[in-house]
């Protein structure tokens, strides 16, 4: 492992939601959205987090910034235990941790001009208090994110989806964060615009030394942008490794199925797809043992009894760990 301490360290993070069912909301069941997740994130790195809808990726992202309070577990950011901070302290911590959301339509206030939108974070954190300096900073941000300077007086509805996502990125960058959670930042955009935003995020990372947690369900985009990738299924990380290694040499049967289902841009491609049987199990009644065993082609008796640990497979020739949670992964 690297000698430098990680920028962000997550240990055993869990989050569940209460679901009320039945009349009078009497029978209460819990939905385990994030279930004992641990990982490290180093400075300047992009960790891609993939998984299907409902796998808990977004909940995890929100728990990191304490936009949602986790039930248990630790998030350590640059040596600081976030769960011990007061709400006020946490707010100033968010100067260093920002988030970009999926939907650039609902995450911008329609009644605010671009100037207001970009001034707000500066105001909250008491940055660039002087009027001239603040204006200068806003122009800087617009330049940085490839928006025209005239945009400053416009309202969100005057922009296209891609441009709005640029505004969201500019807003996140306004306070000069070290770490940004990108929660499906391009999934609402058309393909030709997606590429523009991905390039922008990569340029910004290079220029400003940013660290990303990149949450997405598009496996092609994640491979492109990430240095490391973690796969979530049912609230747990089931596999994680360097992007290269994970995509070339997937070890968990779920990752294998996921990668094989991506449609390839070649009409002559003759790859065998692993079509998973059935639907993901209901999160309200999680199966015993490995949560994937009911859809898994390799499942044996042990899989329905014992939950596999996320262990390093010690893959030959790999310095960095390749973790997988499967009884049969080698």
């Amino acid at each position: 492992m690297s000698m430098t301490p990680p920028l962000l360290s997550v240990r055993n993070l869990s989050k569940s939601f209460q679901i009320q069912r039945g009349l009078l909301g009497r029978s209460v069941s819990r939905l385990q959205a994030v279930d004992g997740v641990s990982f490290d994130l180093f400075k300047g790195e992009t960790l891609g987090l993939v998984g299907e809808s409902g796998s808990g990726k977004s909940t995890l992202g929100r728990c990191l910034l304490r936009l949602m309070e986790a039930d248990s577990g630790e998030v350590v950011f640059d040596g600081i235990h976030l769960s011990q901070l007061s709400a006020h302290e946490m707010r100033s911590m968010r100067k260093r941790m920002q988030i970009i959301f999926q939907d650039p339509y609902s995450s911008l206030n329609p009644r605010m001009t671009v100037k207001d939108i970009l001034s707000e974070p500066l105001e909250i954190h008491g940055l660039y208090r002087e009027r001239n300096l603040r204006e200068k900073r806003i122009y800087e941000l617009l330049d940085l994110c490839g928006l025209r300077r005239e945009s400053i007086q416009k309202y969100p509805h005057e922009f296209s989806g891609g441009q709005r996502q640029r505004i969201c990125i500019a807003r996140a960058l306004a306070v000069e964060p070290d770490f940004i959670v990108c929660d499906e930042p391009v999934s609402a955009l058309d393909v030709s615009i997606q590429a523009q935003i991905i390039n922008l995020l990569q340029d910004l990372q290079k220029d400003l030394g940013l660290t990303y947690l990149f949450i997405a369900h598009d496996l092609k985009v994640v491979e492109h942008i990430s240095s490391r990738v973690a796969v979530m299924y049912f609230g747990k990380i089931v596999e994680s490794a360097d992007a290269d290694e994970l995509y070339r040499n997937p070890k968990h049967p779920y990752t294998q199925a996921l990668l094989s289902s991506i449609p390839v841009l070649d009409p002559d491609a003759k790859h065998t797809k692993i079509v998973l049987p059935g639907d993901p199990p209901s999160p309200l009644s999680p199966p015993m043992g490995c949560s994937f065993h009911k859809r898994c082609i390799k499942a044996q008796a042990v899989c329905s009894e014992k939950r596999p640990n996320l262990d390093d497979l010690k893959v030959q020739g790999r310095v960095k760990p390749h973790l997988a949670a499967c009884h049969f992964a080698k």
């Binding site: 891609g162 290269d244 390839v264 070649d266 079509v275």
Partner: protein
């Protein structure tokens, strides 16, 4: 191969703030019997409007076909009355939509909704209808269909709802199935299930399909023929291999280049770190430039492109590969 559906010079307009606006302009294509045609393009390019025009489902008062013909087995559907169209819809041409949640009625069981589709077109007894419903649900791969018929849409997952939609569409053995982004709202493993189901059904029932999608991976997997749309027009069309191996319109090339490719398992290193994005944005239908509609985003643009609209010309007679571009581009290397 005979063409089952031929669209000729179709233009469809919608009423917007500033008057009627052409969302589809001069679109022509044909779908051969038993084959799949994919309409590809980004949001607002007119692919769904084309499908709604074929189905006769344009919003009354707000949408209308302004020119062109839609020939289905020798008849021009454009001139069909509502009543005549109702006989075509479902029985001859059926359609499934992107969002299976909003296309199903939440207050009726799925069995009820599939039964309705059958009862509308076929003269069967109640028990016959019930049997046919179960049979249809089984055909689309719904597990224990005898029990599922009494479920409500909210009790099903997204993938299962889309299966129900497909069952409804197939209820009267249509000749043509139009699928408008059928897997866009679904996860990739469920998408794989639905796509393989559609392929299987097509072969079994000898069905003709028009698949509308923005995902070029889905196109490569499903299509026999492809039409690429941009700002209301077809800019390139041809057999699927031609489109992917020899894309000849700058927009098609741009689309193919802006999608990250999974690294080849056999190649030693990861591919280039930068995507080749298409600069700029799609022009608004209100402010279309004179000449080629892709001119502002095109790296091959010249004075001639701004003079007049390039025609959709056949490039290769042998394979019917047509391109709407004045330039003869260099050979394609992905």
């Amino acid at each position: 191969m005979s063409s089952l559906l031929t669209v000729k010079g179709l233009s469809t307009a919608f009423l917007a703030d500033r008057g009627w606006m052409n969302a589809v302009e001069d679109v022509s294509f044909q779908v051969d019997s038993g084959k799949t045609l994919c309409l590809v393009g980004e949001s607002g390019c007119g692919k769904s409007a084309t499908a709604l025009s074929i189905m006769g489902l344009l919003p009354a008062g707000n949408g209308k076909i302004t020119a062109g013909h839609i020939f289905y087995s020798g008849q021009d559907l454009v001139h069909f009355s509502n009543r005549k169209m109702r006989e075509i819809r479902g029985r001859e041409i059926a359609m499934i939509f992107q969002e299976p949640m909003t296309s199903l009625n939440p207050v009726f069981t799925i069995g009820n909704q599939v039964r309705e589709a059958i009862a509308l077109h076929e003269d069967l007894s109640r028990s016959e209808i019930r049997n046919r419903t179960v049979e249809l649900l089984k055909q689309v791969g719904l597990s224990s269909p005898e029990k599922r018929v009494d479920d409500y849409p909210h009790q099903l997952s997204g993938g299962m709802r889309q299966r129900v939609m497909i069952a409804m569409a197939l209820s009267c053995n249509p000749k043509i199935l139009i699928a408008d982004e059928p897997t866009t709202a679904l996860d990739v493993t469920v998408q794989a299930q639905i796509l393989s189901l559609l392929k299987e059904l097509q072969q079994k029932l000898d069905m003709t399909m028009i698949l509308i999608t923005h995902d070029l991976g889905v196109v490569a997997e499903m299509a026999h023929d492809v039409a690429v749309m941009y700002a209301g027009q077809i800019v390139e069309s041809g057999p699927v291999r031609e489109i992917f191996k020899n894309p000849s319109h700058p927009y098609t090339r741009g689309l193919l280049q802006s999608v990250p490719r999974l690294s080849d398992l056999n190649s030693p290193a990861r591919k280039s770190t930068r995507l080749q994005a298409i600069p700029g944005i799609v022009p608004s239908l209100h402010e279309l430039p004179q000449g080629c509609r892709f001119q502002d985003r095109c790296s091959y643009v010249g004075f001639d492109c701004k003079q007049s609209m390039p025609a959709l010309n056949v490039r290769s007679k042998k394979s019917e590969h047509s391109v709407r571009c004045l330039r003869e581009l260099k050979e394609w290397t992905p």
